[in-house]
């Protein structure tokens, strides 16, 4: 029987903590979402559970976490739908082959390093319920993700969205996310099919058929939403509700197929119309509740599963340091070197690498999936969460160092003039 009083109290505490910590992080020029992520971690065994274990257990007893998880998953479904809506990989074409090379390298390099690192971590941190291939592929995929939404937020807050480097970063991150999620879908398919005893070709065939149906059957009628928007300048509540229903339906299908419900939501968003004003309107209408209320619940639920406290022994911290170094080397280093090779200047290449190294919220989503399907243990989950926090936190100060704001402003003005001309 659900304890409504406790659930509402939990939501209240989570939202309050998220807003307070988010405001603190904004004061130190970090994205608000970074503060909300940290707030979730602090509410778990890392701080609250360590300082006041009795109060922590009273506020977040184990039986109540299922309801919190359910609410957070609904928020994630909507969020992934919105991520899909805002993605426009076609933008990459306008940046030419250099951008394509950079985005591909920014995926394969951290993926390769993550899998290499798995050779070291697997016998020490995993168990025989997970195959090495599943573990290595998951670690690779987790390393290769870029937090497209957080990246967009950082660029917006620094007025860099219209800069050359900003548009290139967004385009590369978009390709990164689409590719990364496709790889993750395959990994989940591999692991879940092995455990379910279902032949992999059945699930894979079902997934392919569904993707085909979405791209060539469902996508065309969705243009009606854009047409309706352009005719009246808005979407009715029924239209918006229909979009949400479509996202939920697609999520159910991929969950039924054995992948994960987030893929269905992401895919539905990805095939939505892509005109800029339409995307802006949909995000404006649907983002508020998702970002303000539901996402902090997800951060808190992740935080309750992570323990990045002082209780760990030295070995844990050594492993965590290895994970962080490999993550930075793969993503930041790989992206920077590829961009430089493609003819982009050192300052822009370094800035691109720094931005692509932002993992944030998308990393948390993937890690929770990994923990849920059992491919990573709680200890590895905590290490990777720490890696996500570190790589996201370092973005803003490193970016300021590599490309100071005053230089950015000049470049944005020049780039804007060139585009207008």
């Amino acid at each position: 029987m659900i304890d409504l009083f406790k659930l509402i109290l939990q939501i209240g505490v989570i939202l309050l903590t998220a807003r307070i910590v988010g405001m603190i992080f904004k004061k130190i020029h970090q994205p608000q979402v970074m503060g909300e992520m940290v707030a979730g971690i602090l509410l778990g065994p890392t701080l609250f559970g360590w300082l006041a274990p009795v109060m922590s257990k009273a506020l977040f007893p184990a039986p109540s976490l299922g309801y919190l998880n359910a609410l957070s998953q609904v928020g994630l479904v909507l969020f992934m739908f919105l991520v899909g809506v805002s993605l426009n990989p076609k933008e990459l074409h306008s940046h030419g082959h250099a951008a394509v090379l950079t985005s591909h390298v920014s995926i394969i390099t951290p993926f390769c390093l993550g899998s290499l690192m798995a050779l070291f971590l697997y016998p020490r941190l995993s168990d025989d319920s997970v195959s090495f291939m599943g573990f290595a592929l998951f670690m690779g995929a987790a390393m290769s993700i870029t937090a497209f939404p957080v990246l967009a937020r950082i660029l917006t807050e620094r007025n860099l969205l219209r800069s050359r480097m900003g548009t290139l970063s967004i385009a590369c991150a978009a390709v990164d996310d689409v590719t990364g999620w496709c790889i993750l879908a395959y990994i989940i398919l591999l692991i879940r099919t092995t455990h379910a005893g279902r032949p992999i070709w059945v699930t894979f065939g079902g997934l392919l058929a569904y993707v085909f149906l979405m791209l060539f059957g469902i996508k065309r009628p969705l243009a009606w939403f854009e047409k309706s928007f352009h005719q009246t300048g808005r979407l009715t509540e029924n239209a918006l509700a229909s979009m949400v229903l479509l996202a939920l339906a697609s999520a159910l299908v991929t969950e039924f197929l054995g992948i994960h419900l987030l893929f269905g939501a992401f895919l539905m968003g990805a095939i939505m119309p892509k005109s800029a004003d339409f995307i802006r309107y949909v995000l404006h209408r649907l983002e508020s509740v998702t970002v303000l209320v539901l996402l902090p619940l997800f951060f808190a639920y992740s935080g309750l599963r992570a323990n990045i406290g002082v209780g760990h022994n030295g070995t844990w911290w050594v492993f965590a340091a290895i994970v962080i170094v490999v993550a930075i080397a793969g993503k930041l280093g790989g992206s920077m070197i590829a961009a430089r090779f493609a003819g982009i200047g050192w300052r822009d290449a370094a800035s691109l690498g720094i931005l692509m190294n932002t993992r944030g919220l998308m990393e948390l989503v993937i890690l929770n999936i990994g923990l849920d399907i059992g491919v990573i243990s709680p200890a590895v989950f905590s290490m990777m969460v720490l890696m996500a926090l570190v790589t996201t936190f370092m973005t803003t100060p490193l970016l300021e160092w590599a490309y100071p704001a005053r230089l950015m402003r000049n470049e944005v003005n020049e780039f804007a003039e060139v585009r207008v001309a």
Binding site: H97, V105, F111, C112, L119, R124, S126, D127, A338, A379
Partner: protein, 133 residues
């Protein structure tokens, strides 16, 4: 010329890492990890003097295990899993005076049966119990 550079770039920065990835997956195919023991276990029969439903939860990271007994004292034991044997110890005296737990893992992964003995510090009495997942 740029097209040649681009091709070279793909070979260098995408092709070679892909080959390394394939090699890594092949090299790791023979790696082994400790047996999976994490989850909820039922203790059958319950050790003497223990109240409440007999069970324990095991949290595992590689060879490191944390065993939480569902006894009134909420005894937790930390230990290692090596060669199919678990040795765990607690700093406090727990259920039935248990402060150490030694177990041998037997059976296939689907019906994992344990035979474990717990010893109180300094005492010779060692109640044996079986755990089933």
């Amino acid at each position: 010329m740029f097209k040649n550079n681009l091709t070279f770039g793909y070979v260098l920065f995408v092709g070679i890492p892909l080959l390394i990835l394939i090699g890594t997956l092949r090299a790791g195919a023979n790696l082994s990890a400790p047996p999976a023991v994490s989850g909820e276990w039922t203790i059958d029969p319950a050790p003497g003097n223990c109240a409440g439903p007999p069970d324990m939860s095991i949290y595992q990271t590689g060879a490191d295990v944390l065993i939480a007994l569902n006894d009134p004292q909420k005894t937790t034991l930390a230990g290692k899993l090596e060669g199919g044997l678990i040795a765990a110890a607690s700093t406090t005296t727990g259920c039935g005076g248990a402060s150490r737990l030694e177990a041998a893992l037997r059976g296939n992964p689907d019906t994992s049966l344990w035979r474990a003995g717990s010893r109180s510090t300094g005492a010779t009495h060692a109640p044996r119990f079986r755990s089933v997942q």
